[in-house]
Amino acid sequence: MVFVTWEVPAILEGTAVMKKLINAAEDVVTEALQGIEAAHPDLRVDLVNKIVYRGDLPRSGKVGVISGGGSGHEPMHGGFVGLGMLDAACAGEVFTSPVPDQMLAATKLVDGGAGVLHVVKNYTGDVMNFEMGAELAAAETGARVVAVVTDDDVAVQDSTWTAGRRGVGVTVLLEKIAGAAAEQGRSLDEVADVARTVNANGRSMGLALTSCTVPAVGHPTFDLGEDEMELGVGIHGEPGRERIPLAPARDIAALLLEPILADLPFRAGDDVLCFVNGLGGTPLLELYIMFNEVSKILSGHGVRIARSLVGNYITSLDMAGTSVTLLRMDDDLLSLWDAPVKTPALRWGI
């Protein structure tokens, strides 16, 4: 039997010099959490468990809403903690889901006796770690936990034979809307219902112009040619479904919207929340150009933009690119979206 000696690729030898505002790669998450704590007096940070949480917890009788996931998607999730949105967020290592102990600790922190909603993006790791966290919480505290899994990425084939669609942009909208429902005093089942409604009515698709660079890796996750872009990327620097030549914004908007519109399907007369998201390295100027193209296509389909969100809200580190999310709205969702929210990244009405 021969154990092969694998050669380390040359690019990994030595300390990679990275164009990043960091100290050591292994301290990135902890130090960013310290920065959040220093910048936002309303929030608290548990550095041991890597949890960002509201300073006024637990709120008796209110359903707790927590989420979490790998870091590198900021402001998601830590930037969405606050009144009317998340009660706590668990930060994993960069692009690695947090561990069950964190979800256990966060669940205990936020439980005000009315149960806790876990907002989980559909990735094998996230789902399993949240599951184990909920099992631990049930065993240890008896807290009632309901998990809602987001899986809105139409770039991925949905099938019982795969891990299913990824949770992407809808997660942001769901956290806002479910957070508002919880803040209103709705029950855990009601809050979970609203969350499921959001997921069922939302679809997303993303496109990358560049890869991102994970600090612990030190070089781009994938190589994209000067004249190529990656269609259907997720938010972890994972390659997409297809590599295609660079195209103008109007073609990109069409490429992203076509599968989104077809999937639900969205219909003439639908009211939607239109969310044009940046993946971290794309300037707002370009996101507004994308929004313009998206809005033209939607009006061509008779789909009405009832609400909009433009900016970097669910990112992949320094990746240049965009994702578009459409959420079909009804009156309840509209009023929950409009309800007051006070977090570092989304704030209005207060």
């Binding site: 021969v2 994993g92 692009f95 990735y123 612990a216 994938f222």
Partner: protein, 230 residues
């Protein structure tokens, strides 16, 4: 461990695994960069570093206690898909070890299989899904077969390691149907599964620590990743 695995044997297995993960960390991450998210090496390294530190905790004086501790530590430190999967593997294995000291080969083999069942219960992977299952299941099949055929433990565990490597290599042409690589569909073909690669290291570590007479296993253990001959 011709008479069975002692607590120290099992600790040494885990330490050997940690060393192999350390020396193959970047490669595991590269494999994951191709069809995943470029963190499998970092994840496993973080976990095994914590595991090695935890081995010094007081009270870990039975094989079951050691192996459960490994599982709990992995669950608490790895994250991602591999954390719950490797964690569950060791937790279930520990639960199945019983009290015998040293652990007889058959008990050890049965405990490993309990670990595999845990992986399946948690992750629902089947053969051919291009996951760690595709290295682990053939390895344990080979182990059971060899033991059933009356082979001595060292030969059986070497057969298991060979089967793990073959299983690992067989993931390359597969289309992923579980985990992050499944998003790639056809584009996952042609890449080795990172979890299968780390699992092959786990079984290879068993050869290091448990697969020969005590002397050999301890003197060659430092060479994890540098092995060039059986």
């Amino acid at each position: 461990m011709t008479n069975g695995a002692t607590v120290e044997d099992l600790r040494e297995w885990v330490r050997a695994f940690a060393r192999r993960i350390e020396s193959n960390k970047d490669l595991l991450t590269e494999l994951d960069a191709a069809i995943g998210d470029a963190d499998h090496g970092a994840n496993m390294h973080r976990g095994l570093t914590a595991v090695v530190a935890a081995l010094g905790d007081p009270g870990l004086d039975t094989p079951a206690a050691v192996v459960k501790k490994v599982g709990m530590t992995l669950v608490s430190t790895v994250g991602g898909a591999s954390g719950p999967l490797y964690g569950t593997f060791f937790l279930r294995m520990g639960g199945a070890l019983g009290d015998a000291q040293p652990v007889p080969p058959e008990t050890l083999a049965a405990a490993l299989r309990a670990g595999l069942d845990g992986v399946v219960a948690r992750g629902k992977a089947e053969a051919g899904d291009k996951t760690m299952y595709d290295a682990l299941a053939p390895a344990l099949d080979a182990l059971d077969e060899a033991l059933a055929a009356g082979e001595p433990w060292p030969a059986a565990v070497r057969a298991a390691a060979a089967a793990a490597e073959a299983g690992r290599d067989a993931t390359t042409p597969m289309t992923a149907r579980k985990g992050r690589a499944s998003y790639l569909g056809e584009r996952s073909v042609g890449h080795q599964d990172p979890g299968a690669a780390s699992t092959a290291l786990l079984i290879a570590s068993a050869v290091d620590a448990l697969g020969a007479d005590r002397e050999r296993s301890t003197t060659t253990a430092g060479a994890a990743g540098d092995d060039s001959a059986p």
